[in-house]
Symmetry: C2
Subunit: 441 residues, 2 copies
């Protein structure tokens, strides 16, 4: 996919807040989302510190002659747009860029029509962008898999299938929540190391997982695999994902069928979907496999995927305890990682997923698994960072953490940045741990 004028780093928007170097949502980004307003759920695009109400744009006739994309902007979620495929995404992006860019001639008339349709971000209640039909969670960082394997199977940290099979499992779709939703500490069966029998109790080893999720765009019919070189035509964009995990529940339940209740109590996603088109300037070669690693099997391999299957997305996890919040302290960054560390590209994950004929649907979410890198400070969860609690980390307040305590707030953030391109930010994915029963509904 070639770069076009929407990627031009010198473009500026008449929405002034989009033009600062540190803005997440410059005019070269234009991520899509959904907010819940007085008139229902509405598709929108972020620009600077505002969101453009695309539902209103369609109603107001800004699209000119209505097309598929403008129709899809009238839906209450992004899946209608996702289903249309990359041509529609690209056309919508071109339109948004044209509407929002600063022009020499002023473009006053257009701007006067659009300005009333901008809503300040800080007033918005954002939603999960699409109803997730199926949520799949992969295990695509070899560093994460090796670290976790070392703790649980010191003799054989990395299982023999890892470098051949993009390992993944089905996750729980119902408990996907949008960033900002409090996360209730789950109870479950757990077995203390010195106990004969398990007990049912609140998890004492609650953890986050720094992940990135890919939203499926156009679907495939049951029985019809997707070749590796067509995979990205079925990917719409990316969001940040926190795959909250109760390590004590997980350890006791996960054999032989994998994680279940240790994960299904909540999974948080960031509300903005950064489209594949916006990520084009940040494409990078797929992970370089060390000498001695097998090549991917042919169905997962192509020159295009090797040359540009990766995405250079920097990621960060910050913690803030209740005390830090009270004292007005900023979140404390505990790890920095990058999507470049993934052993498998999203194209490979998607092609593998459909290789048995499994049908993927618009709005399905494929998460990467914990994005850990090779160094200690790039480990994407507390299990790894504190090495199962044996190496606690210390907060600026002097508080120590092995796992998450009640009141702890976890914030994931991500951005693409490189010389010669405008910054493309992902915003954040945030959640605070709460305890006690749910409020009556």
């Amino acid at each position: 996919m070639p770069l076009d004028d929407t990627h031009d780093p010198t473009l500026r928007s008449w929405v002034a807040s989009a033009n600062t170097a540190s803005a997440d949502f410059a005019i070269q980004n234009l991520p899509l989302g959904v907010f819940a307003g007085a008139r229902g759920r509405r598709v929108c695009a972020a620009i600077g510190d505002a969101a453009l109400d695309l539902h209103a744009c369609a109603e107001e006739g800004l699209f000119g002659s209505p097309d598929e994309a403008s129709q899809a902007c009238l839906a209450g979620s992004l899946d209608a747009l996702m289903a249309l495929g990359p041509e529609a995404s690209r056309a919508l992006r071109g339109r948004l860029s044209a509407w929002l860019r600063a022009r020499r001639d002023g473009g006053h008339e257009l701007r006067a029509r659009l300005e009333p349709l901008l809503v300040p971000l800080d007033s918005l209640r954002l939603c999960v962008p699409a109803p997730v039909g199926d949520y799949t969670d992969f295990y695509a960082s070899v560093f994460h898999a090796t670290n976790v394997g070392s703790m649980f199977r010191p003799d054989e940290p990395l299982l023999p299938n890892y470098k051949y099979v993009p390992i993944g499992y089905h996750g729980r779709a119902s408990s996907i929540v949008v960033s900002g939703t409090p996360v209730r500490r789950p109870s479950g069966q757990l077995k203390r190391d010195d106990a004969m029998e398990p007990e049912f109790a609140a998890s004492r080893r609650l953890d986050y997982e720094l992940e990135v999720g890919a939203w499926v765009g156009r679907g495939n019919a049951l029985g019809t695999p997707i070749p590796i070189d067509e995979a990205e035509q079925h990917l719409f964009g990316l969001s940040l994902v926190n795959d909250w995990s109760a390590r004590d529940i997980q350890q006791w339940e996960y054999q032989p069928l994998g994680p279940f209740l240790a994960k299904s109590f909540a999974t948080s996603v960031s509300p903005w979907v950064v489209t594949l088109e916006a990520l084009e300037p940040f494409r990078t070669p797929a992970f370089r496999r060390p000498d001695g690693d097998p090549a991917p099997l042919p169905y997962l391999d192509s020159p295009r995927n090797r040359d540009a299957g990766g995405i250079d997305l920097r990621l960060e996890v910050a913690l803030r305890t209740a005390r830090m919040r009270e004292e007005g302290a900023a979140p404390h960054v505990v790890s920095r990682s990058s999507l470049r560390h993934l052993y498998w590209t999203f194209a490979q994950l998607l092609t593998h997923h459909g290789s048995n004929g499994c049908n993927l649907r618009p709005g399905d979410l494929l998460a990467s698994g914990t994005v850990s890198g090779p160094t200690r400070d790039s480990r994407g969860c507390l299990l790894e960072l504190t090495w199962r609690g044996s190496e606690p980390i210390t907060m600026p307040t002097g508080e120590v953490r092995r796992f998450l305590e009640d009141g702890d707030e976890v914030t994931l953030s991500g951005a693409c940045e490189r010389e010669g391109a405008a910054r493309v930010g992902f915003g954040s994915c945030r959640g605070v741990i709460v305890n006690g029963p749910a409020a009556a509904t």
Copy 2:
């Protein structure tokens, strides 16, 4: 839940085909389903060899004053009805029973209004009854778990957690298909025992799994567990499930996160949902744990569950090869089992599922896992029945089977039968194995 006059075994219907002793759909059953007709998808109830179009009943004013249930019958799937909970199910059942029963006074006027709304079953295209938001597959037969464990982990067939944790995993919702849909043999990564590396090839160890699925009725809010004695108020009814499995793909991929592509290519469900109300005469004590087994933890235990948590549902698997079909031979029964063999009741499965606060939604499907019993002829999949292919079975034609061949047809069926109660049949769940790429769409 007490029996009421809808369970009276002497009741007869004016739909004559419902009154034979071998009928699946007597007036005491009244299972619900959805068919695709010229005017869209419609909720219906089976009676004898016909279906009563409940959408039409609601439109024709047969419900009298419209209520929640009649409104739900206007939806294109059963989830609206499922969401209403057991009071509404019970009331609808009472109404259907009253409409369809033979009366001394003839009831000619009512019958004249209903008869045009009956559709012959053999003309119907039935659908998956509800859009499954999340599909969960359990592992609730201790016999199945022990058999499979013996093959893969001879030293430790049953893992230490099995008798405490109702083991389950998330399945794939998108590839759930209705009975009758052909099942395409999947390809995937598999590794021959004598090979150094895996290959991507068509599965050579394709299998069925005899399962029963419970449809979730009323949902629960995220963060709000469901106590064991309230569990059945969240269960709507049961269908048959065939959890098709590619054993060679499964063996290579399943560590450490569980089955994924070995299962996600297709899962078949029978179209009729037998409601919990219809199953009331067949309630039976929960599985009697052998001496020495631990008691369930308190959150999974109650006198009511112990006394009547089980359901006495007999199950059967029949195979028919392409040659048998050509020769006009009947399907050959290869195993007979019973839901009584499950180590965990559906109430326990549901309560466990929600015990971490996970929200269940109307239309979610909880499948039992393979319902194998203690004897060889009650083993619910070929993996067990042929002991991983080492003890092939012979068809009446002399053909032998280790795993499924192209053209093989698998039919699951089930029925509740006991002295003093009318037979409650489940119909069947059927699928034929086909090969080659999907037809162009």
